[in-house]
Symmetry: C2
Subunit: 565 residues, 2 copies
């Protein structure tokens, strides 16, 4: 391709609002442009990268027996009602109505659509297993879009769905897709960590995020020193050490407490360790239930774990007014004697302490010697604690906190959808109808491209891995007034094209050599080839790899050999 | 691919509602499935065809200098307001709102989006021309979906947009795309006619539909015997012969006319030729204007021409009540003395007659000797007549009516969009800002596939042209109990795969040979290869082309040569 004809230009400068490196370089190099927040155009250069990413995923999926299909973009809302996801996904969902009044969902995933397709066939156990996938535009009505392609509202996703007779068979496919993902990301130059995660509104019991460790990422996860676990903050469990659990229970006591509302105020007032204080956090969930989460004072509440424990779809902090309406007092909340209208969810860390202290549900009054079971009985009890760096894994290995970009995920769905949707069944050997055991597997194309740019760049621009570079070769002539050089460059370009080499030829006549070199670095093709009077004299061309400093002189034959397809 | 693993099955029978052959076979062969009316899934077989169609289009577009990009699917409504298409497209448009209240259009085309992208760059005359295209899902909220992929509500479209400094440069691209389309459709085995058409809500002054002549098609067009014109019914002009134009004008006369309300009732009552009668049709347009269309009695009103003449976006017939409210009478309407609130649009055929007759705007009263200019003055006058088979072209060649499937179109847009949208300009040689001169070019992928199936099938199924067949070879073994044959078939399959041949291997064990042959015909791969004890004896394989009757015995080497990539 001749660069003079290329639609989309590089920019020398870029708005300071483009904070993420990937956003900056993808914009500056002329790969993408924003339409409105979180919605992007791919320009010709970006499209070439995107197409190569797609091809890699497709090859690896096909190789592992998955079959490509496509579903409509508009999902009939009735289907989402069958699984109740219209409620559980809630805020992220966009709905559109047609002129006949039918409603459609702009989906973030397509489980219902795929099951609706599969149930149109009489599937027998002989047809199982199968895995069908698509590349299709997905929609998430995110509150905040950020970082260019890192968090968007509309994006291309490879989403695959597998159907099995039982869990055992599914587990093979889960491993198969795990391997596929490792291969896919490796081909793009991405090292990923498979992080145990929460299934969220997708449903099912377990899943793994494929995460590229990077500070720009929004996935917080923990890895243990012994290499045994990599787990998302949302679900990470850790060892909660006993504190004073063998202490004798003392008498419950209410005292006047002229103190501020924070945990620290409590510590200062009572001169007792923070772990002995009860931390009380009042929430309201999407069913308008008041939820009191209680936990040992030195720990934090993990809202995802809390939602899973109490079966909530969304949570928000209660207002002071709501807390008072529930018969308590901000800063002085206590599970002891709290209204029956409040659902009390206790972290199991409260079993590691005795004679705790905290509020008394009224202003400037605290309770001392509060003990679980004796003084209050939680409605739910379990692990709702947030793991932090430095804590110990259950196997007592130190946890380290990491940030990463989630580029893909694999989900066990089990019977989550097939039990909710009618006729999501196959006929088994005994002619009985059985629900499918399912899995699903996603890769966000846009975010994957951003992750590559985050991981592969220097101060001059992106350094694309060969397999997904927009072009393999960036050809530049230092022409000046010498027509011979122009002729030579054109000849080499022609020859490269004949070989079907993937080459971007900077034939722009009104651009200086410096600017051309800067553009080549910014665009980031793996090989830069320069023709000048100097190289011509030596009957060579100058070759430089984008990720190396050295410049080599090679013969034309060597060049042609190098870029042969 | 092993057929035992293929997702999506053939069906022996099919609902009688599937009237179009393409719909029937695409469903029955396991290429597509309907989600809800007008929205389709592509199954793995259908996807292979779709991908090959896409690849052909892409190759031809790239070869001719077009560059692939992609826009978001949700178009900010503000952009559509800039061009007022929110109003002019009207009923076909779907709007979706996000949680922040921003509105988006699910577009049928993307002119506004593309211009919004282009104006983000400082385009100079040196950057012109360029042509950028995408494959993206399009939405049309059609009242009626029909014929499977022939008329759908959601479909993949290749839409291209070209930007030029002036009309002369644009015209080169129009020819370039015309050639591209001929090449694209020819590769898919489609012979197309480029039919002059109406630009409709796309805007601009002229366009051509690429139409495959077929009775299933909804595009009505006329071709002249002299081969000089192929033109859509909507805009076809024809020669309107003089009738009695040189007759002397007689005195206008109102008479009692106890007759029925039809044109024929008028002819019978007055015993005068139908062409001498004035046909009056009352419409209401989208701006609630009352429109009286008048035309020579032997001709019909063409609503598209009428809309273009009066600048209306939509038309409907007025009700009897509305006609009376406008001071007239159904069956007795006349332009003579009609209320000033009615806009009178006259066909120029009224100049070919004298002393016409027709209603008198009251019940059972007619006017005789009505003459244009003397007795009434139309507000607009022009060609609003519908051409029919048998009429003469302006060059006096007989017109023949045809039906066809519109698979693509190319539009001159001129300044239609660039004058409406802010900053849709480039900098010319004199540093002045000039609006872009534009064109756009669409191909409907889904309908193109349907057209191929309509044109290439027999009583057993689809006969795919080689370039877009789901597989090149359908391999079948007649195995019985002979393990040697099974081994031989597997060996041949392995060899074909090694050669990267595109082969579907029917390895299903519980399916009879007859059913396998029927499936092969239904799916319609170009080559059927059969291995049996008979072929094995002769060290040959049986080869049959889908579009031929004969069966050949060829050596394995010949087969491998044949399918080599």
């Amino acid at each position: 391709m001749r660069q003079s004809k290329l639609f989309g230009k590089t920019s020398k400068t870029v708005s300071e609002n483009l904070k993420a490196v990937s956003h900056k370089y993808l914009h500056q190099g002329g790969f993408i442009r924003e339409s409105v927040a979180g919605r992007y155009y791919f320009l010709p250069l970006g499209m070439r990268v995107r197409d190569k990413v797609i091809r890699i995923i497709e090859e690896e999926m096909n190789k592992r027996g998955a079959q490509k299909i496509i579903t409509p973009i508009l999902h009939p809302k009735e289907l989402w009602k069958e699984t109740n996801r219209t409620e559980s996904v809630g805020f992220e969902l966009m709905i559109v109505k047609d002129r006949r009044g039918s409603e459609f969902v702009l989906g973030g995933t397509a489980e219902e659509m795929i099951i609706d397709l599969v149930r149109k066939f009489n599937i027998s156990y002989k047809d199982l297993p199968f895995n069908i996938y698509q590349f299709s535009q997905k929609f998430r009505d995110e509150l905040r879009a950020r970082g260019g392609l890192l968090r968007v509202r509309e994006f291309l996703m490879k989403d695959a769905y597998s159907f099995h007779a039982d869990e055992k068979d599914f587990k093979k496919e889960y491993q198969n897709m795990w391997k596929a993902y490792e291969a896919i990301f490796a081909k793009m130059g991405l090292e990923t960590v498979a992080v145990e995660s929460d299934n969220g509104y997708i449903g099912g019991e377990y899943c793994h995020e494929f995460v590229v460790e990077n500070t720009e990422g929004e996935s917080r996860f923990l890895v243990s020193d012994d290499g045994q676990c990599a787990v998302h903050e949302d679900i990470a469990v850790f060892k909660k050490e006993e504190k004073n659990a063998d202490e004798k229970e003392k008498e419950l006591q209410e005292i006047k407490a002229l103190r501020g509302k924070t945990m620290e105020d409590g510590v200062k007032f009572h001169q007792l360790p923070i772990w002995q204080q009860i931390k009380d956090v009042m929430f309201v969930d999407n069913k308008d239930r008041m939820i009191l989460a209680i936990i040992r004072g030195d720990l934090d509440v993990n809202e995802v774990k809390l939602m899973n424990l109490i079966g909530a779809g969304e949570l928000r902090h209660a207002t002071d007014e709501e807390i008072r309406k529930a018969g308590s007092e901000p800063g002085f909340i206590s599970p002891v004697g709290i209204s029956k209208n409040v659902l009390v969810a206790a972290d199991d860390s409260l079993r590691t302490i005795k004679n705790a202290y905290g509020g008394a549900n009224k202003k400037n009054a605290d309770l001392l010697n509060v003990n679980i079971d004796r003084d209050y009985k939680p409605n739910r009890e379990g692990d709702i604690a947030m793991a932090h760096e430095g804590y110990l894994s259950p196997a007592e290995s130190v946890l380290t906190g990491k940030n990463g970009i989630e580029v893909g995920n694999i989900f066990q769905l089990g019977y989550y959808y097939s039990e909710k949707m009618k006729d999501a069944v196959f006929t088994d050997k005994n002619s009985e109808k059985k629900p499918f055991y399912m899995g699903c597997y996603g890769i966000g194309i846009d975010r994957t491209i951003a992750a590559v740019a985050e991981m592969h760049h220097d101060e001059k621009g992106i350094v694309w891995p060969e397999q997904i570079a927009p072009f393999q070769v960036h050809l530049i002539g230092i022409i000046g007034k010498d027509k011979k050089i122009k002729k030579e460059v054109e000849m080499i370009y022609g020859q490269l094209q004949k070989q079907k080499a993937d080459v971007l030829y900077d034939d722009r006549e009104d651009i200086g050599v410096g600017a051309k070199f800067a553009d080549a670095d910014l665009i980031g093709c793996p090989y830069r080839v320069v023709i000048s009077s100097k190289t011509l004299e030596q009957k060579k061309v100058e070759l430089k790899k984008r990720n190396e400093k050295e410049v080599f002189l090679v013969s034309k034959e060597e060049l042609f050999d190098l870029v042969k397809k």
